[in-house]
Assembly symmetry: C2
Homo-oligomer: 142 residues x 2
Amino acid sequence: MQKEIELFKDGLKKEKLKITSQRLKILEAFLKTERHMSCDDLYRAIRRGNPEIGYATVYRTLKLIQKAGLAREVDLGDRVSRLEHEYGHKHHDHLICLKCGRFFEVFDPEIEQLQERLALKYKFNAVKHKMDIFGYCRKCKS
Amino acid sequence: MQKEIELFKDGLKKEKLKITSQRLKILEAFLKTERHMSCDDLYRAIRRGNPEIGYATVYRTLKLIQKAGLAREVDLGDRVSRLEHEYGHKHHDHLICLKCGRFFEVFDPEIEQLQERLALKYKFNAVKHKMDIFGYCRKCKS
DNA sequence: ATGAAATTGAAAACCATTTTCAATTATACT
DNA sequence: AGTATAATTGAAAATGGTTTTCAATTTCAT
Ligand SMILES: [Mn+2]
Ligand SMILES: [Mn+2]
Ligand SMILES: [Zn+2]
Ligand SMILES: [Zn+2]
C-alpha cells in the first residue's frame, strides 16, 4: 500500500494541505480492509489502536481520501455513506439482497458499452454511473 | 386520476387503515405534479391550500402512497428522498447533470435485458434496479 | 527557530426523517 | 343514530449520519 500512501500525500501537497499522523493512520485503516466501510465502522476500527483520534477527523480525512482517488462512495440506499477502495480496483456494480443485505460485485462489459452508447445518444458527457440491482440472493429466495 | 385514488383507498382498506381528508389531499397534491418531489416540496405545495396539514402526516402518507404502488423513490445521491409517479409510468433510468442538476429520463431495452441476464448468471432473483449515469449535459459540457 | 496557515478533538449544529403523545376522528357494530 | 374501539393527527421532541464551530495545537515554508 506504499503506492496509495504516496498518492495520498501527493494529493495533500497539491492542495497545500498538511500531512498529519492522524490522516496517515486513517488512510492505513481504510487500506487495511477490503470491505465496504461506513465512516463509523472506520472510526471504531481506528479507535482500537488510536483512542485519541476524533470522529470529525475521520469524516474529514475520508473526504480527502476520496478526492485523492483512493476511495469511492457506495450507496446502498440506506442513508449511510460507505467507502470501497478505488485505486487498483476495477469499476463494478452491485447485486444487493433485500433480505440478508449481502451484495455481489459484478461487471458486464456489454452493459458498460451500452451505457456509453446511451449517453452518446443524449449528447451527455458521462463521467460515472451507478447501477444496483436489488432482489433476493440464491440463499434468500424462498 | 380517479383510478389512482381508488387504488390508494383499496390499499388503505386492505391494511385496515382509514381514509382521511389529509391523506386524500396529500395524494392529490402528489398526483398533480409530474416532477420528482421531495417530502418537503410536497409539504410546501400542500400547505398553500391546506395550512392545517402537518409535516409528519405528509411523510407518513407518502409512505402509504408508495406501498399502494403509486409512487417510487428516486435517489439522486443527495440524502433526500424524492418521489415520482409509478402507476401508469414505465420504468426508466436517469442521466443526471453534475453541474446544473437537470436529469433526463431514459430507457434502453437492451440494457434491461442484459441486466436480467446478469442476475440470472448469479442465480439472483432481481426485483428492481437503479441505474443513474452522472456527467455533464449538452448545455453544461465545456 | 519563527510565524502564518492548516489541523485537531469535542461539542454543538444541521437536516431529513421518525417517533412520541394527548387530542381528535373514522369505522364497525349495536 | 349512538357508541366503542382503534387509527390518525399535528406539534414537538428525538434520532442518526454528517458537518461546522472554535480554541488549542501542529505543520512546514521561510
Ligand atoms: Mn463494491
Ligand atoms: Mn424519473
Ligand atoms: Zn440474501
Ligand atoms: Zn447540465
